[in-house]
């Protein structure tokens, strides 16, 4: 009996190893875990409505996705990669080097990052500068001299007398998360640059000051799982949490957004660009695969259709902030015409 199984399995190995690259009859998508919840909705619908198979989507992170995407042309490489930032020139040239010359860039919408607390306590009214002062490792000396000291603030009222006298306790994602990158880039950096003498620093030095979070327990790395942060906020009404807008929307009976620079994280304020902590979402399609892998063009059409990414579309229901009508029209046009991306070093 054992012999027969050995024979069968060795046959199986040799069979699978000798086979050439498999033809693929579904779209393979990789990339950002921020875009993942939106791309999956489109993919699912696309699979149900069209005659094509449902695309397969992996959440590899923006950088990991672009690396896979740019690794070459052929059915063993992904057709589409999602990204919560624009492709970098270095990645673009990597793509070109590996023969991926025809990339279609599609700007799909925005994602907001919410700073929120339990609905049981009062809403916070903050500025990005407050956030920087509360969460950075090094802050300007409170005595007014233009020097940097280890963050001395323990309560919010020490930063701004109008804020409550609660202990500073912020739950947020760890450094491996894209949400953390975006928060640092938009909120911390934004607040930091409002201090003139830091703004005047060398770029590298400034980055070190603005981008380093404090490690004395005021900022708690609560893991990648945003649901967990929401649960912890409910259990601890004094704490603030940092997570994606879609989680705020799904839990708006438990947590409330803080007001940042005068605006609450809401659908409209993010769409209008008033709410400062938001980032663009993209996906990149490999036009060279059209014809080899069925359905890519139709997937682009579905994603850029008004019922998907429009103001009343199903992506908006899932918490993606749509582009304004004009941008939507031009971005959709660009996507459907499969215009290849051209990038120069300066971008």
């Amino acid at each position: 009996m054992t012999k027969r199984i050995t024979l069968a399995s060795s046959l199986l190995i040799s069979l699978s190893l000798s086979a050439p690259a498999f033809a693929r009859d579904y779209i393979s998508i990789v990339g950002s875990s921020t875009v993942y919840p939106f791309a999956t909705v489109v993919a699912e619908r696309f699979g149900k409505v069209s005659n094509f198979n449902t695309p397969k989507i992996e959440a590899t992170g923006s950088g990991g996705g672009l690396k896979l995407f740019c690794s070459g042309v052929g059915v063993d490489t992904p057709d589409i990669t999602n990204s919560s930032r624009r492709i970098k020139y270095s990645e673009y040239s990597q793509c070109l080097e590996n023969g991926v010359t025809n990339i279609v860039e599609v700007l799909i919408g925005f994602d907001g990052i919410a700073v929120a607390n339990s609905i049981e306590s009062d809403q916070y009214v903050l500025t990005t500068k407050d956030l920087y002062l509360a969460l950075a490792k090094q802050v300007p000396n409170p005595d007014g001299s233009e020097t940097l000291v280890e963050n001395p603030y323990l309560t919010w009222s020490q930063i701004n007398p109008e804020l409550p006298a609660n202990k500073i306790e912020v739950l947020g994602p760890p450094p491996t998360s894209g949400t953390r990158d975006a928060f640092v880039e938009l909120a911390m950096d934004g607040g930091c640059k409002q201090i003139p003498f830091i703004k005047a620093l060398e770029k590298q030095e400034r980055k070190a000051v603005c981008h380093t979070m404090r490690e004395d327990g005021a900022y708690v790395e609560a893991g990648e799982n945003d649901n967990l942060i929401v649960q912890k906020l409910v259990a601890n009404p004094n704490a603030l949490g940092i997570f994606g807008f879609s989680f705020l929307e799904q839990n708006d009976d438990l947590v409330q957004s803080s007001i940042i620079d005068g605006y609450e994280a809401e659908f409209d304020t993010i769409a209008d660009g008033d709410y400062s902590i938001s980032r663009p979402l993209y996906f990149y399609a490999k036009a060279q695969h059209i014809g080899t892998v069925p359905g890519i063009k139709e997937y682009l059409t579905e994603f850029t259709s008004e019922q998907a990414w429009g103001e009343d579309g199903y992506l908006a229901d899932k918490g993606m902030i749509p582009l304004d009508e004009e941008t939507r029209e031009s971005a959709g046009e660009l996507a459907r015409s499969l215009a290849p991306l051209k990038m120069t070093d300066s971008e």
């Binding site: 054992t2 199984i5 050995t6 069968a8 399995s9 199986l12 190995i13 699978s16 190893l17 050439p20 690259a21 498999f22 693929r24 579904y26 393979s28 990789v30 993942y36 919840p37 999956t40 909705v41 993919a43 699912e44 619908r45 699979g47 149900k48 409505v49 005659n51 198979n53 449902t54 397969k56 989507i57 992996e58 959440a59 063993d76 990648e224 799982n225 945003d226 649901n227 994606g244 879609s246 989680f247 929307e249 799904q250 839990n251 708006d252 009976d253 438990l254 019922q307 009343d312 199903y314 899932k318 918490g319």
Partner: protein, 439 residues
Amino acid sequence: MTEPTESTNKVAPRKDSTSIVKKTLAKRYAAEKRFRFYGAAAIAMSLAFLVLLLGSILVKGLPAFVETHMLIDVTLDSKTLGVEEGATQQQLKAANYHSLIKKSMRGMFPEVKKRKAKKELYKLVSTSAEYKVRDQLMANPSQLGETISVWVLADDELSSFYKTGALADRSKLTHTRLSEQQIAWASTLEEQGKLRKKFNTTFFKNGDSREPEQAGIRAALMGSILTLLITFLLSFPIAVATAIYLEEFAPQNRWTDLIEVNINNLAAVPSIVFGLLGLAVFINFFELPRSAPVVGGIVLSLMTLPTIIIASRAALKAVPPSIREAGRGLGASQLQVVTHHVLPLAMPGILTGTIIGLAQALGETAPLLMIGMVAFIVDIPTSVTDAATVLPVQVFLWADSPERAFLEKTSAAILVLLVFLIVMNAAAVFLRKHFERRW
């Protein structure tokens, strides 16, 4: 052992030894009692944790096995659908069912006029209603123009609310995202008998979905079965052959020692390393498809091989040498001794080792991350080269989803995983009984 008696002899005269025993007796009994108590306490504690774990999973997961259906009347009028009488299947498939469902929701509550209120109303019904009506019409194209009543899935928010019984008693659920207006509509539907709870068959029929009420475990379950099948087919024969050779045939020398050390080491290598190996060798070099159970199975069998080899060797070692000697004495060859006598006797132990190895493989996610099996899979995989995911990955993906109804799906998926494990272990017990031979 001998030392205490010597010292007793030296220190105490003989007649006193009973009194010394008596003196220490109570102390020794107490020590034994204490030890037994610690043992029992350890077991009680682990049992308590097990009950706590299973209890919380059961409490959270059981609601997921119930789904809420809603009865809607749909008029299949060709104008809204945008198809003519005698339309082809293709035309029927592409028709506008979205508006059709919206229209029938408005038909149930004609007083709703405002745009915002209408939007809230549409949110009560699952998007899967469109597909259900579509499939029905495609099966009976002659129904075009008629009005049909269909039970469709309710949206996850309504379903979570309704399942707890909060409609009758609001105190049962303190937090809900449903508005007062939506709850009022739900009450009306309930009064008209248009809401009902049913056993959740969707959960076992569907693949993953971003809508909690449509999400199912089928794709992940099939993925796990296919992956484990490959793992078993590869690792079992290779491991048993290795174990037999090393135990029964190989000479004892430096080479076999080296191999043995390496096998033991491999058993302790972190599983992600096997994932990296799978990515570099099977996907990049041999160009096997990404996300496929075949690659997952190969990677996991590399991981489980050492476990099975070690268990199989122990089982072979446990067969008494007299069996081998008797066999050889009767003129059997070395191979005949092994295949006719030693292997069947060792089989129960080998099977237990295999099941332990496979159970470990069943719960593994880290190596699968590298080979692309952590993915959103809607279509049910049917062959080992289809894109697939596995049960623990499904648990992970659902735990990370923003919609709150996925919380119960997560626990339900864990329950399915546990049942899978129990079935596997039961199979092991059955096979062990079947193979067991007495001598």
